[in-house]
């Protein structure tokens, strides 16, 4: 059994383990153990990957395994990772691990909750390791569906509506996506030979331009919907607002990254000509969503809505950078995915913890919480600073890389949109400071807040894990950024052929 498949097997085993547990306590422990193993495995994977690269292994994908599944359709179960997938896997394992502890106190149907949560994470892991479009899409949908139950059963507010809306919009996206993938598949052998779903194989052939023109928008929008592309982002605020803590963490932290990852691994990598031709449309859309999301966040009153909109803005930046189609920008895109994943997970974890104490998420009903719960307060400030791009935290690195990458384009259009995107850092500062000020500072509005206790051990664990990751990337980004950058080389080589 290859190491990568373990990332799918461990969740399955954990789920089976949970099924046989008696009570909530055991369930929690089992899931914690399982995801802890996952985290360790991820750490080992990073180490193994780096050392393999050190050893001079120049293969495009490492740790590859390939099992024929449906021979006559040439469908394989093919896995393999490059630096990007490794980074995303590490991110996922961290967020899931933190998520388990953040949802330590789920009382209602805990078994089912953790089962769905871990199934979801399994889907995400599968998505990141798979090299075969079929398996990739399979894991993609596996990751999306449990969301419905998670939000619908354990959510709050208008949860049925939000859950249904989220599921249907994402499924509508995957409808586009499926057609796109099938289109790629059926055009994967223009000069005879067997059709294939294997990404690396397809990357070798060049798909006829007409087909690309048809399927690039489908694929990109399909992934873009999950990445909160501008007109299709509206599932995100409602979904995040209604979802329980851990689900918001996973969803904003990891699931939305499937969009960015896929958009760049499939849409750009496999359909580069069309991407180059049509990128301007989507660049406009994404630069809109960068600013638009930030402005939208300014007036929100519900903490989760604020973060949902800021996620729209930040994920917009991811897609924006992906579309810039040069090494630096794409490097930045991946960094931004990771950094946003971590910090937004941290945000949602903290919001969940605060909500669990104050029973409100309306910032105008809160204030002065820094006094009563300093730990959570400080953590929230750190998350906020990360999100407005303070040097020394991950957000800064990612955004700067994106901006400098995007600015490598000399033509006016790219320059202008870049400036637009850059200006978002001010707006971000505005709404982050507004939240922090209203939530943590100032006098305490509500007397019964006076005797709220600070974070418990598991909450601290989950928070600290994320903060450490954020700070680590922020302080020493070099190895991560180079690891990603090297893995981008094949794509860049492919692009340089097309783009003059």
């Amino acid at each position: 059994m290859d190491i990568l498949s373990l990332f799918v097997i461990i969740p399955i085993l954990t789920v089976i383990g949970i099924m046989i547990t008696k009570d909530a306590k055991q369930t929690r422990v089992i899931s914690a153990i399982g995801m802890g193993l996952q985290l360790i495995l991820a750490a080992y994977l990073v180490y193994a990957y780096l050392s393999a690269r050190q050893a001079g292994d120049l293969a495009e994908m490492l740790f590859r395994a390939d099992y024929v599944w449906y021979a006559n359709l040439n469908i394989h179960y093919a896995v393999g990772v490059d630096g990007i997938s490794v980074a995303m896997i590490a991110l996922t394992s961290i967020v899931v691990f933190a998520g388990i502890f953040a949802s330590w106190q789920v009382e209602f149907l805990p078994k089912e909750f953790f089962i769905s949560l871990i199934l979801l994470s399994g889907g995400v892991f599968g998505f990141f390791i798979s090299l075969d479009l079929f398996t990739m899409f399979l894991f993609y949908e596996v990751a999306v569906i449990p969301m419905y139950l998670l939000i619908g059963i354990w959510g709050s507010g208008p949860k049925e509506y939000a859950a249904m809306k989220l599921t249907l919009m994402l499924m509508g996206g995957s409808a586009l996506l499926l057609v796109g993938l099938l289109g790629i598949y059926t055009n994967s052998a223009p000069d005879g030979g067997p059709l294939t779903f294997n990404i690396l194989e397809i990357a070798k052939v060049n798909i006829p331009i007409e087909a690309q023109r048809m399927f690039f928008p489908m694929t990109f929008v399909g992934f873009g919907i999950l990445g909160a592309l501008f007109p299709f982002h509206t599932w995100s605020p409602d979904g995040h607002a209604s979802a329980p803590t851990a689900v918001s963490m996973l969803h904003a932290g990891v699931l939305m990254k499937l969009g960015g990852y896929g958009a760049f691994r499939v849409a750009i990598f496999l359909l580069p000509e069309a991407a180059h031709e049509l990128s301007w449309i989507f660049i406009i859309l994404t630069s809109i969503s960068v600013v638009y999301g930030a402005f939208g966040a300014i007036v929100q009153k519900d903490l989760k809505y604020i973060n949902a909109y800021s996620s729209v803005s930040h994920c917009g930046l991811v897609l924006f950078a992906v579309l810039m189609m040069n090494k630096t920008a794409m490097d930045g895109a991946i960094l931004q995915m990771i950094s946003h994943g971590l910090m937004t997970a941290l945000f949602f974890a903290l919001i969940g913890m605060i909500y669990g104490r104050t029973h409100t998420r309306m910032i105008n009903e809160m204030g002065g919480l820094m006094k009563v719960m300093p730990f959570l307060g400080v953590a929230y400030v750190i998350a906020g600073l990360a999100s407005l791009g303070l040097p020394g935290l991950s957000g800064f690195v990612a955004e700067m890389t994106i901006f400098f990458g995007a600015f490598q384009h000399v033509d006016v259009f790219h320059r202008v949109v870049t400036i637009v995107a850059v200006s978002s850092i001010v707006i971000t500062a505005v709404y982050i400071l507004r939240v922090v000020g209203a939530l943590l500072f100032g006098p305490i509005k509500n007397d019964h807040f006076l005797h709220l206790e600070d974070a418990k051990w598991f909450e601290k664990l989950s928070t600290v894990t994320l903060i450490l990751a954020i700070a680590a990337i922020g302080i020493a980004p070099f190895w991560l950024s180079t690891m990603i950058g090297d893995s981008l080389q094949p794509i860049i080589d492919k692009l340089t052929v097309i783009i003059p």
């Binding site: 599921t167 409808a175 499926l178 289109g183």
Partner: protein
């Protein structure tokens, strides 16, 4: 043609014998022993199913009026499997008091319809096809009216028999025209003489509408919902799975073998019909409250998906159609199984009766959810693979927009399937269905379905085999 060549008709023969045995048993048993017929019939049919799987002999009989190849053999076995599940599910229902005196009738009718379908599948001429069709239809009406004293059941019966007679008349008109223009009713002869001339086109359309009636394709589907709702649950599941599946098999065989010369006509025809079927089926399903009617419309929509496989007119297409029907049998029977269990325990068959089901009967709700996800085509359950292969087939023949419409419809269908899931898992209810123990046969049936739903997808061997026996134009 010597005697042992009758062994070609193994399925039909064994089934006929079983039917007779049940009849005799029914005559010989006295009132209180009648209940035993259930076990006898089920056991016998199980044996028949096993016999069906004995290695196949291909060949023709009655001068090509009856032909049997590996493809037909497989199709018949698939149907047998499905019927076995249906029988297991209906055990409890037949035990109930007001069915005591007509137990064996149920089996006689079911078996005879099944024989009809198998003859249809193996038919090599329109005559055989027509006979099989009628044999599969007329007893079905009686089955639909099985609960004689329920208004709905009676209504279902009469609606079915009348519409069926009407449609078979139209079908016959088509066949006469075919005969008149080609001078034969044998497939192989007709296939040679068929061309794109107006009269033959008309003939084909009439014939096709007769078949479309059986598969309940829009706009020939209107009887479906009413009959499904009215008929007893098990009959409904039988109708919606077995007879639909069988008709789909025949349609694809006939289109590929007989009318392959006018594919440029039936491809656009199927395009229109499948779009209509999926969309209308979904639009009607959205609003339904009665579970049976709901599943009826969902099965209409599913029929629309089946056409995606046919339209490609390729070997992959046929494979994926058979594969899809195979998966569909398990998924739909899973859903209907749960509905029937709940109905005969509590007489409840409305969606809002299912509120909070998970908290009282978790296993049933989980099975229901699996089945619905499989119908909706959510990975990793089998339905996903079935749908994906249908889409692949259509896409590889270039019908991208059709695929797109289909996938959108799949999304809509996901919406109403999720409504049921929502009812079971999310909604709260003051009077949820109380916990009850499911009976052994139903349990077996459901577990067969669950196994199917779970594992078919992962074992490509099935698909490989079907691929090896199927053909395209």
């Amino acid at each position: 043609m010597n005697l042992d060549s009758f062994l070609l008709m193994r399925h039909e023969m064994v089934l006929t014998i079983i039917t007779l045995m049940v009849l005799i048993a029914d005559l010989s048993f006295n009132e209180e022993k009648k209940i035993k017929v259930i076990w006898l019939a089920t056991a016998l049919f199980a044996i028949n199913t096993i016999i069906g799987f004995l290695p196949n002999i291909s060949g023709n009989l009655f001068g090509n009026m009856y032909k049997n190849t590996d493809l037909q053999w497989t199709m018949k076995n698939i149907l047998n499997l499905g019927v076995l599940v249906v029988l297991l599910q209906s055990v409890e229902w037949l035990k109930s008091a007001d069915n005591k005196y007509k137990i064996s009738e149920f089996y006689l009718l079911v078996f005879s319809t099944l024989i009809g379908m198998q003859f249809m599948i193996s038919s090599g001429s329109f005559l055989m096809l027509y006979l099989g069709l009628e044999l599969a239809t007329i007893p079905m009406a009686a089955l639909a009216a099985y609960d004689r004293y329920r208004h709905h059941s009676a209504e279902a019966g009469i609606k079915l028999i009348l519409s069926a007679a009407m449609s078979s008349a139209v079908l016959l008109l088509g066949i006469t025209l075919i005969y008149g223009t080609t001078g034969s009713t044998y497939f192989d002869v007709v296939a040679l003489k068929y061309a794109n001339i107006p009269l033959q086109t008309l003939a084909f359309i009439f014939f096709f509408s007769g078949m479309a009636f059986k598969i309940s394709l829009v706009p020939f589907h209107l009887w479906t919902a009413d009959v499904y709702e009215g008929a007893p649950v098990n009959v409904t599941s039988y109708l919606s799975v077995i007879s639909k599946g069988a008709s789909a098999f025949i349609l694809i065989i006939v289109l590929f073998t007989v009318f392959n010369s006018i594919s440029m006509i039936w491809k656009p025809l199927l395009y229109i019909i499948s779009v209509l079927t999926m969309t209308i089926g979904n639009l009607f399903a959205i609003r339904q409250q009665n579970m049976k009617r709901f599943l009826a419309f969902s099965s209409i929509a599913q029929a629309g998906f089946i056409l995606l496989g046919i339209i490609g007119a390729s070997s992959i297409g046929m494979t994926s159609v058979v594969y899809f029907v195979f998966v569909y049998i398990f998924s739909n029977l899973g859903a209907f199984g749960v509905v029937s269990v709940i109905y005969y325990k509590t007489q409840k068959e409305n969606m809002d009766d299912y509120n909070g089901l998970y908290h009282t009967n978790p296993k049933l709700s989980l099975i229901m959810m699996l089945a619905l996800f499989s119908l909706a085509g959510i990975p990793p359950v089998a339905g996903y693979f079935g749908k994906f292969f249908l889409f692949t087939a259509a896409a590889s023949s270039g019908y991208y927009w059709l695929v797109f419409i289909a996938v959108l419809n799949a999304t809509i269908s996901l919406y109403y399937y999720l409504l049921v899931v929502k009812a079971m898992f999310i909604n709260k209810s003051e009077t949820p269905i109380a916990y009850f123990k499911t009976d052994v046969p139903a349990k077996i049936a459901l577990s067969i379905c669950v196994l199917g739903i779970f594992f078919i997808g992962f074992f490509s061997i099935i698909y490989q085999y079907l691929e090896s026996i199927s053909f395209g134009i």
